[in-house]
């Protein structure tokens, strides 16, 4: 069994990481740190783990060497201590945004502060196996992924790779998200009478994950608008674009099949009938699946691409564990076989 520790484990992503590692047949959860919950049992922050572990949170300074370290700290923290974390473990996955982008300039532009360890950026591999499976195998350092970026990237990647999008007309990704994207800390905007029932477009332009989508698709003219809705888990991207050439339904099926048929956690959802004809994040809660699909407006050459995920899973902890499996030489899907719930 390989020993894995989590730094910053009292948040929602940290809780999902703990749940996944505890259920993994080849991993042992060694330590979980939290400054505010140090000394408390894991179940004090993650009640679903009651009876699954007798670990207590420790201060981050008490973390000991392990085979792998998962960093679920707020943005900006891991890059300030990456040298120490690298000394603690041969394999490190950082789920914050610190090492997702390629350059310090890009990080400063999107995150508003200079990068604390720019020399480390090139050592990290972006932790989306659908993009970087070969590089992740055996890598020492991987970043996490942006949840909204993942939904958009997986929805559009088959079209971008095939070069069939009219880039001059642009691509607009309308992303609906759940409240867990806001993290475990609360504030005036998350107070129940205020938050409940909202359709709150909190980032109509300039969302930070835009940088990841542009880099992943290798298309600059992509824009995100993100709206918080009445949902706890989930991100649903509806991506509006125009085709640069006429394509049929069968052509689109081929593009999506070519991209995703061999991917263990990406499913094509494009059905002719029924209640589940397009991707729907509700049924993905707790699973590592990303469901993708499209709708074609043949008359106008417009395409609407869909991507649905659980933001805490495929958009964070699930992709991180999938990446860690590859980095450690384990089965890529190990510990990730939960298919979700229905009804839920």
């Amino acid at each position: 069994m390989m020993r894995v520790s989590i730094a910053g484990g009292s948040g929602y992503v940290g809780g999902e990481l703990a749940r996944l590692v505890l259920g993994h047949p080849g991993l042992e959860l060694a330590q979980v740190s939290s400054e505010r919950s140090a000394g408390q049992y894991l179940s004090s922050a993650h009640p679903n783990l009651r009876g699954r572990s007798d670990l207590r949170f420790c201060p981050i300074a008490a973390l000991e060497p392990a085979d792998a370290l998962l960093l679920a700290l707020p943005h900006g923290h891991s890059s300030r201590q990456i040298g120490r974390f690298a000394d603690l473990a041969q394999t490190v996955v950082d789920l914050a945004a610190d090492f997702r982008l390629d350059t310090a300039d890009s990080y400063e532009h999107w995150y508003g502060e200079p990068h604390a360890s720019p020399d480390w950026l090139e050592r990290f591999t972006y932790g989306l196996p659908e993009l970087h499976r070969e590089r992740l195998a055996g890598a020492r350092y991987a970043s996490g992924v942006g949840c909204n970026a993942t939904a958009c990237t997986l929805a559009l990647l088959p079209l971008a790779r095939a070069g069939v999008l009219d880039e001059a007309r642009g691509i607009v990704c309308d992303v609906k998200v759940g409240s867990s994207e806001g993290g475990a800390a609360w504030g005036a905007g998350s107070h129940h009478p205020v938050r409940s029932g909202v359709v709150r477009t909190y980032a109509p332009a300039g969302h930070r994950h835009t940088a990841e989508v542009r880099r992943n698709l290798e298309i600059e003219n992509v824009h995100l608008s993100v709206t918080a809705i009445e949902m706890v888990r989930g991100a649903s991207a509806t991506c509006h674009a125009w085709l640069s050439q006429e394509l049929s339904e069968k052509d689109l099926w081929k593009l999506y099949r070519d991209a995703w048929t061999n991917e263990p956690f990406v499913r094509i959802v494009h059905e002719q009938k029924g209640s589940w004809r397009h991707p729907e994040p509700k049924i993905l809660a707790g699973s590592n699946y990303a469901d993708v699909g499209w709708a074609l407006d043949l008359e106008h050459g417009r395409i609407v691409a869909f991507g649905a995920i659980d933001n805490l899973m495929k958009g964070a902890a699930g992709s991180a564990l999938q990446s860690l499996n590859l980095m450690l030489g384990l089965d890529e899907g190990s510990g990730l076989d939960f298919p979700g719930l229905h009804p839920v």
Binding site: W253, H270, Q272
Partner: protein, 58 residues
């Protein structure tokens, strides 16, 4: 089952027709969910099944 999968006329996916299928049998495409009707048996031919239509009692 037919020796070779039949191509779905909607999405080009693979549709398996069980041995013993009869004319008019409706099978769903596993990829796109289209309801497909067995039109011929030798060789097996399928097409999109017509939607149920209301006859309004006529």
């Amino acid at each position: 089952m037919s020796d070779n999968p039949i191509e779905c006329p909607v999405c080009a996916g693979s549709v398996q027709i069980e041995e013993g299928a009869v004319l008019g049998e409706v099978v769903p495409c596993p990829d796109c969910g289209s309801e497909l009707e067995v039109l011929e048996l030798a060789p097996v031919t399928i097409g999109v099944a017509p939607d149920v239509e209301e006859d309004w009692g006529e």
